[in-house]
Every structure is written in C-alpha cells, then in structure tokens.
C-alpha cells in the first residue's frame, strides 16, 4: 500500500491564516520536518516587496489570499562547469492580523534551500525589509517567558553561536571572537556563561524539556529567526508572536525619523541607552569611534572628539545620513538627517550592539 505524501498534500491546499497555522502544526506532528520562521517588517506588501528577479534566482507568486501568500523560489548555481541541479522551494508569507507592516515568512524546506536560496534572497531585499534585533536581555527574557508559558521544565542549550569581546592590540580597539559551543547548559546557565565571556549569542539551539522528555529542538537567532521540529503552536504563540511585537515596536520607533518626513524638516533623534555610564572616559569614546569605523558600506567622520563626541555617518546602502552625539556617558544619540530609513537605523543600531555595546533604543527626550 502506497504511503501518503503529507507534504504534497499540504501544498495542494489553500489556506487562510488560521488554517495555515493548524496545517503546519499537523504536518510537524505527522512528518519529520523542521519549520523555519522569519518575522520581518516592511512598508510594502509581500508581492511587491519580493517581486523581483535576482541574478540566479527565479521568484514567483503561487497564491495570495486571506493574509497568506505562497511563493516559489528557484536558485540556479552560477557554476556552469558542473551540472548542478537548481535548488527549488516554496515559502509562505503570513501577514500579521493585528500588527501593521509585520509579516512572518514560513517554510518547511530543507536547510540547503534556506541557506543557499532563501536567506540570500531575503538579504537582497534589504532595505525593503527589516528584521528585528534582539539584545541579550530581550532574548533571555523572551525564552524564559516561553519556557514558563508552555510549561517546560527547562530549555537545554545544546548548541550556541556566540561572539565575545576581548582587549585588542590597541587599547581603543577590541577584538571580537566568534565561536560555537555544544553544551548541556540550562537556559539561565547559558546566559550566565556568555555574560562571563563578555559576549552575546548570535543564535541558540535548545531542547524544550518537560522533565527529561524532549518535545522539540528549537533555534532562535538574534535577528528573530526561529526554527522548530515540533510544538509549533507553542513556538508560534509564545516565541514568534512576542518577537513580532518587538519587531513592530522597533519598526514603529524607527519610522518617520527622516527630517524629510515632516514639512518643517524637524529633527527626530533616537538614543541607545546603555543603562550604565558606558562612555564615561575618553578611552571608551575612542573605542566607540573605532567600532563605528568598522561599519560596512558607510562613511564615518569625526566632527568633534573632545570634550563631547560627534560623528557623521553616511549609509552607502541607501544614502541615509546620521549624526551621532555623546553628550552624557549613558547614551549614544542618533540623529537621522534629511534621509534616515528604518533599515538604515536598524543597521546602525545592530552595528553598535555587535561591535561596541548593547543597550535599549528609545525616543530621544531633550529634557529629562
């Protein structure tokens, strides 16, 4: 008797938001799949956002209804000397029912498709799309709440990619070392470990345990990308949904910051609040300058360095321009000039988090 191909059956159906979530949950229960979820924000609807042909990738919209879009993507290897078959796959884009400009890209395709076709495709969609940025505290509290809400006894971290800061050859330049660990640490233990190393997680893979039984292996990255091989409803409701909230909040915070967004060309700065006197001395400010010089595809000029720090940045991705000011040791003020896009602000903040120090992003208050 022929076995039923649930995956083929799954793709034959048409879905709205609710039925898609149910179908994915059912699929993960019946077949060995890993589901990858990528929450993103965009000012453009998915068909417009992704409608393009990028080099070696063919892209098509298969269906679009009820807040669910299904797309096909084919990647042809650029190497002509080998007969390499194209990599083909499909992905859904789920339009968040409540949060405007917020979407979740979902796929059950292979990691090979995701790594070689989908993620480069998504990266090429920058600056039209914007991924979230979870600082360590966000990531830790998000996972702790996920554990508690779903009644797991622990989340055992089995694999983690992290980066750590070490003193460099120059006192003003820290060296950042990337490494991967395989561990059996519990959730809190893993965050203590990385804190001790003066580092941060880029991604965490953990087993969701109830007592000693593993219910799912789940991965979460700093950009809010998650994958799971089970417990889909729980992951969707208690991990992806909160990530969407964070994504939406930061997107709202970063929107309309260009001076051109207001008739009177008003300035709308943001701050990265470090929560401590991070920039108290000249050496720290010099470290920040060195870190900002590492920003890829951008210019950086030091306008003032003493007593206060003022830097000017041009983002060569989309021509956004910023001034960065340090007027007290607790915060870095980001002033978008005539053009300061959401994607560019996100890139700038992400660079500061990765290469200097993490903090909380807030609306700038002149008085207070």
């Amino acid at each position: 008797m022929a076995q039923m191909d649930f995956t083929a059956l799954f793709y034959r159906q048409s879905y709205d938001r609710e039925s898609l979530v149910k179908a994915l949950d059912g699929l993960l229960r019946t077949e060995a799949h890993t589901l990858t979820m990528l929450p993103y924000a965009s000012e453009k609807p998915p068909t417009e956002c992704f409608r393009a042909y990028y080099g070696n990738r063919d892209f098509s919209c298969i269906s679009s209804e009820g807040g669910v879009n299904l797309f096909g993507l084919v990647f042809h290897s650029p190497r002509k000397d080998y007969d390499i078959p194209p990599i083909e796959g499909r992905f859904f884009v789920y339009e968040h029912p409540r949060l405007p400009n917020t979407y979740i890209l979902l796929t059950i395709e292979s990691q090979d498709f995701i790594r070689r076709a989908l993620l480069p495709f998504v990266e090429r969609s920058y600056p039209r799309i914007y991924l979230t940025l979870l600082n360590q505290q966000h990531m830790h509290s998000l996972l702790r709440e996920f554990k508690d809400n779903r009644g797991f006894t622990d989340l055992k971290v089995v694999r983690a990619a992290h980066r750590s800061r070490f003193p460099g050859q120059k006192p003003t330049r820290e060296t950042i070392i990337s490494s991967v660990i395989w561990s059996n640490l519990g959730l809190d233990g893993a965050f203590d470990y990385v804190h001790e190393l003066n580092g941060w997680f880029k991604s965490l893979t953990f087993e969701a345990l109830r007592n000693s039984r593993v219910y799912a292996e789940i991965t979460v990255t700093r950009s809010g990308i998650a994958k799971t091989d089970g417990e889909f409803i729980g992951v969707f409701d208690d991990l992806i949904s909160p990530i969407c909230e964070i994504l939406h909040d930061s997107h709202e915070l970063f929107r309309n910051r260009s001076r051109r967004d207001s008739v009177s060309l008003e300035v709308r700065p943001l701050t990265i609040n470090f929560g401590r006197d991070q920039l108290a001395d000249e050496e720290e400010r010099a470290k920040l300058v060195e870190a900002m010089r590492l920003l890829d595809k951008a210019s950086m000029s030091v306008v003032h360095s003493n007593p206060y720090l003022q830097l000017s940045v041009i983002d060569y991705f989309d021509g956004s321009t910023f001034d960065l000011w340090v007027l007290n040791p607790r915060e870095l003020i980001i002033v978008p000039q005539l053009k300061g896009t959401v994607s560019s602000i996100r890139r700038l903040v992400s660079h500061v988090f990765d290469n200097y120090a993490e903090g909380y992003i807030e609306d700038f208050q002149a008085v207070g």
Binding site: E266, S301, V303, Y308, I314, Y316
Partner: protein
C-alpha cells in the same frame, strides 16, 4: 628624510587648521543658539516663551541713514550675528567673536562693528519695525574673554568709541560634568535677563541635549563658512540623497562615480531649507538674507571643479554643475585634505633659487 615629508607635514598642518576653522564656525553657531535660547526658552521647562523672538543675520537699517538713502538705491544696513526681541519692545543685538584678537587694530575693528549696532535701527521683527530700547552684547570664548574685557576697559576710551546703550561682554564655553553643558557667563556689564535674576553674572549652564534639535539642523549662519566645510555639506546633504536615487548607488564601488547634475540655485535652496537659521524666521522672513549665499556655493562648487570632482555644465555660465559622486570613507577628512593639497600647491616655494614649481615638476 625624503623631500616628500615636509610637504606631507605642511599638508597635515593645513588639514589641522581646517579642522580648527570648521570647529570655530560650528562653535559660533552653538554660541548664537545657546545665547538666544536663554531668552527663547523658559529656563525651567525649556518650553518656548511666546513673548520672545530670535533672529540671526537680519538686516537692520540705521534710521537716519535709511531716511537719507531712501530712493537713492543705496542700501545700508547692519546684520548682527544674533538678535532678540522681548515683548516687541526691548531688543538685544549681539556679535560672536570666538577668538577675540589680541592685536589692537583687529580688536578695535570688532568694536567698530559693534558700535554699528549702538544706534537707532529699524527693521526689527515687530509691527512697527522698531523697539523702544535695545542693548549690545559681545560673545567671546572663555579663552579670550579677558582680552575683550581688557580692551574695552583700558583701550577703547582712547579710540573715541563710546557706547550709548547698555553694553556687555558674555563669555561662552563648554563644561563637562555628568553631561555636557554650554556655559554662558557675564564678564562685563549686565545684559537684560527675563525675570531679572542676574543668573548670567554667576554663569548659566545650558545642557547641550536641550539644544540638540537646533544644533543638528543649523550648520550655516550668515558668515562665510570654510570652503571644505561647505563643499562637504553639499556632498553629504545635497549630492548623497540625489545619488542614492540612482539604481547604481547601492553597488557603487569606491573607484566608481555617479554623475549628479545640480543647479546652484537648488543647492542654495536645499541648504537654506535644511541647515540654516530659517526656522527662527518663519514668522518674519523679510530682511533675512538667504543663507548660504549663492556666491559661497559657487565658490565651493568651483573648488570641487578644481579638485576634479565636478565640472560646470557647458554654457550654463556657472549656474549648473555636474558632480562626480564617489563614496568616500571619511568625507570631512577627504575635503579637508583636498583643500590643503590645493592650497599647498598654490603656496609651494621654489625648491632652489630660480626654480618655479610647474605642473610638470608637480607631476613627477
């Protein structure tokens, strides 16, 4: 030691001089913003005071002069660095001189200019265009305030310059405590203060963050900025947004260029709209010069042409320019270095008596 080293050192020194000139220019803007906002903003809530107006570079006409020159086509006016009107009746006019000169002759010139404000003037931003009374203030950096005070007290009487209206000198500087402050303190006289608290006598620290919105959008005032400073502003704030609309922009390599066609008039308008004191003058735009002046922008564009970074559109009589936009790692340094290199070439001394530097010699 190679022959190239002294040239590099000279260029390095020029670059440093440009950096200082840029700093001085911005410090002057910060002094104007700092002092005028003492009046514009409530000192407790930092909210605008509706009864106060501020202005920068406004053309005020001496009353008798205006009457004499009416109909003759001759325009005479003074344009103080800063002006304040309180309740449409009291006025303050001021000049900022960050580095007050030690030399007597130059110091005297500063006071001659200030004396121009010490007369009945019309053109104030009031209904009658006049005020009942006004006073004059000189703002100097704290490093040179002692020279200004000494000159006023000891040497000015010998020049015959006497101020009929109240005159004061206020020093400014920066203070670093937990946060950075812009600091203002009277060193001579007693400027009018709203509420009459005499706070300026003991010094007023204004948190820089309170004024950040104004610092960020005010990069030009009615004095000619250093050439590389203006060229960089044009590059950053006028060329970059236009270049970024080009589909090639994102993937443009460092050695590739995008042509950006601009009219001088559009550059002036763009900088005036986004980076001048225009936002202070929205209710009284008459008598306000348009900053930057067209001739400054033309000169900055000519500098770009000489640097090989642009060319004038043929037949446009220097009203339109094509800029070859490139992605620079550090545009501020880039334009300072370009300017310094051009200046160094202009002032290069013959290496041996009788030998003049030529293009051919330079190219070796």
């Amino acid at each position: 030691m190679t022959m190239a080293q002294p040239v590099d050192e000279r260029i390095g020194q020029l670059v440093e001089e440009i950096r200082i000139a840029n700093d001085d220019y911005e410090d002057t803007i910060h002094a104007i913003i700092g002092f005028v906002n003492l009046y514009l903003l409530d000192d407790k809530t930092f909210q605008p005071r509706p009864q106060v107006k501020g202005f920068q570079g406004r053309h005020l006409s001496p009353l008798p002069t205006e009457e004499q020159t009416r109909g003759t086509g001759v325009e005479k006016y003074v344009s103080p660095d800063l002006g304040i009107v309180i309740e449409d009746s009291r006025g303050i006019l001021g000049e900022v001189k960050k580095n007050f000169p030690k030399e007597m002759e130059r110091a005297q010139k500063e006071f001659v200019q200030l004396k121009g404000y010490d007369q009945n003037l019309t053109g104030w931003p009031t209904v009658s265009e006049r005020v009942e009374s006004h006073e004059v203030v000189l703002l100097v950096h704290q490093m040179t305030s002692a020279y200004a005070k000494e000159f006023y007290e000891e040497y000015l009487p010998q020049t015959g310059i006497v101020f009929e209206r109240p005159f004061s000198i206020v020093e400014f500087g920066r203070q670093e405590q937990v946060q950075h402050y812009f600091f203002l303190k009277t060193v001579l006289g007693q400027p009018t203060e709203i509420g009459g608290e005499k706070k300026l006598k003991y010094g007023v620290p204004v948190p820089m963050r309170v004024l950040l919105h104004e610092y960020a959008k005010t990069l030009l005032y009615d004095a000619r900025p250093p050439l590389p400073y203006l060229a960089e502003l044009i590059w950053r704030h006028v060329c970059t947004p236009i270049a970024s609309e080009n589909p090639k922009f994102e993937h443009l390599h460092k050695n590739q260029k995008i042509e950006v066609a601009l009219a001088i008039e559009d550059i002036v308008e763009s900088l005036n709209e986004g980076f001048s004191f225009r936002f202070w003058h929205s209710q009284h735009p008459d008598r306000q010069p348009r900053i930057p002046r067209k001739e400054w922008v033309k000169q900055a564009c000519q500098f770009l042409v000489e640097s090989g970074e642009a060319e004038w559109v043929e037949g446009s009589e220097e009203t339109q320019i094509i800029i070859f936009y490139q992605k620079y790692d550090d545009p501020v340094y880039h334009f300072a270095l370009f300017y310094a290199t051009l200046e160094e070439k202009k002032t290069a001394k013959p290496m041996l008596p009788g030998f003049e530097p030529t293009e051919t010699a330079d190219s070796y």
